[in-house]
């Protein structure tokens, strides 16, 4: 099932992994001067891991990273990622012109392909990767506890059957290692935004320690402005703050690692649920969710471009 173009693609519906990958190829084919598809690794079950690159030229320009779907059951995030990809193309000479004239954008729509495929074929509620580690019957690692930032500390489980199992060692998951290697090789990423659902939060580091990040004031102010922009569209209420003070202690988290890599503007979103459906957010809410989130992303991207470091 492949639509003729990204203009006829149905953004108001959930899609399978194959349909999302087909969408990505269409977007690249339609915009060869702006969009390219990078393969940054392979998953446990040997699926390719793709990242879309949006660039108007230059080499290794300062960049913004956005990823969705690291927890596979959070379907509204991958669906929003598809919408963001089309929006970046549509806005390349309008709202994003300023940013794309100086920066690149990397967008990883399906950050956990094995888990996402599994939610379509076997278990809609699957959250983790699909890796198998010796000595346990249970499958999968929480990819948001597997990063080398406070790894193994409180706020993650050492039980392979737990939904927050951290894995046998940091970066044990190929889905995580692929991003780690990409970020290190690129070396010029200035903002890293990892998008989850649900509970309507905009979070910044740290999650593994109560120690405040040196840039706390600035990150708090950016989060405040981003949440105000988000809420202005449909009135969706968000809270914002550091991970550990806003929700709970979580070790081995993505943006703790990216912040410690020197990527100052590191944020995690927990998108809407509007208090009724949790992970089973109806497809009718995909576009409104993506639209309001985009308003916040615009604030973060504009701030990053205006404060390159």
């Amino acid at each position: 099932f492949v639509p003729r173009s990204t203009s006829t693609f149905d953004y108001t519906s959930y899609h399978t992994l194959e349909e999302i990958y087909a969408f990505m190829d269409l977007l690249v084919a339609e915009n060869p001067n702006l969009v390219s598809k990078l393969e940054i690794g392979h998953t446990t079950e040997n699926r390719p891991i793709y990242v879309l690159k949006f660039s108007k030229g230059g080499t290794n320009r300062p960049a913004i990273w956005i990823d969705t779907g690291i927890h596979s059951r959070e379907w509204v995030t991958q669906a929003s990622g598809v919408w963001f990809a089309k929006k970046i193309v549509q806005e390349q000479d309008q709202g994003l012109a300023n940013i794309l004239d100086q920066m690149d954008i990397f967008l990883e729509i399906v950050t956990n392909p094995d888990g996402f495929a599994f939610t379509h074929t076997s278990n809609r509620m699957w959250r983790k990767t699909r890796s198998k580690h010796s000595g346990s019957l249970c499958v999968g690692v929480d990819p948001n506890r597997n990063w080398d930032a406070g790894f193994g500390g409180s706020g993650a489980s050492s039980n392979p059957c737990s939904e927050t199992y951290r894995g046998p060692y940091a970066n044990s998951e190929p889905e995580v290692k692929a991003i780690v290697d990409f970020v290190k090789n690129h070396g010029n990423i200035k903002a890293f935004i990892s998008i989850h659902s649900y509970s309507q939060l905009l979070l910044y580091p740290y999650g593994y320690t109560t120690t405040a990040v040196p840039d706390k004031e600035e990150l708090h102010q950016v989060a405040k402005e981003a949440v105000a922009a988000l809420s202005s569209l449909y009135g969706t209420n968000y809270k914002y703050g550091s991970i550990i003070t806003t929700i709970y202690q979580a070790s081995g988290g993505t943006i703790d690692w990216t912040y410690n890599q020197g990527i100052k503007y590191s944020f995690t979103f927990e998108l809407r649920d509007t208090g009724r459906y949790g992970f089973l957010l109806p497809a009718s809410q995909i576009v409104p969710t993506a639209q309001e989130t985009w308003k916040a992303l615009e604030v973060i991207m504009a701030h990053t471009r205006g404060h390159l470091y």
Binding site: F1, D10, T12, S13, Y14, H15, T121, S122, N123, R124, M125, C161, E163, Y198, S199, T246, I247, Y248, G275, R276, Y277, G278, F279, L280, P282, A283
Partner: protein, 93 residues
């Protein structure tokens, strides 16, 4: 394919430290196979738990015996999953 027939999602909004502690203790009851969609955070923050059918009555009895109020956020998880699948198929057609 895993099915969720009879599963419900309960929402608990702890309003005291005692309630928050009771909810946290639920995370240790592995035999109930509870799936915490939203884990316990702080007072006033919702905790959402997907509860398999066999655990529904024991859990509700446990919460009521301990005076922990709850609401049913999703009456029938499988019905929502089926609806989602049907919508996807219809849109694809």
């Amino acid at each position: 394919t895993e099915n969720f027939v009879g599963h419900q999602v309960l929402r608990i909004v702890p309003s005291s430290d005692a309630e928050l502690q009771k909810v946290r203790e639920l995370q240790e009851l592995e035999h109930l196979e509870l799936d915490f969609w939203l884990s316990p955070r702080g007072l006033g923050d919702p905790v959402d738990i997907r509860v398999p059918f066999p655990s529904l009555q024991p859990l509700k009895a446990h919460l009521e015996a301990n005076g922990v109020p709850y609401s049913i956020m999703i009456e029938d998880v499988q019905a929502l999953v089926d609806l989602e699948q049907m919508q996807m198929l219809r849109r694809r057609r």
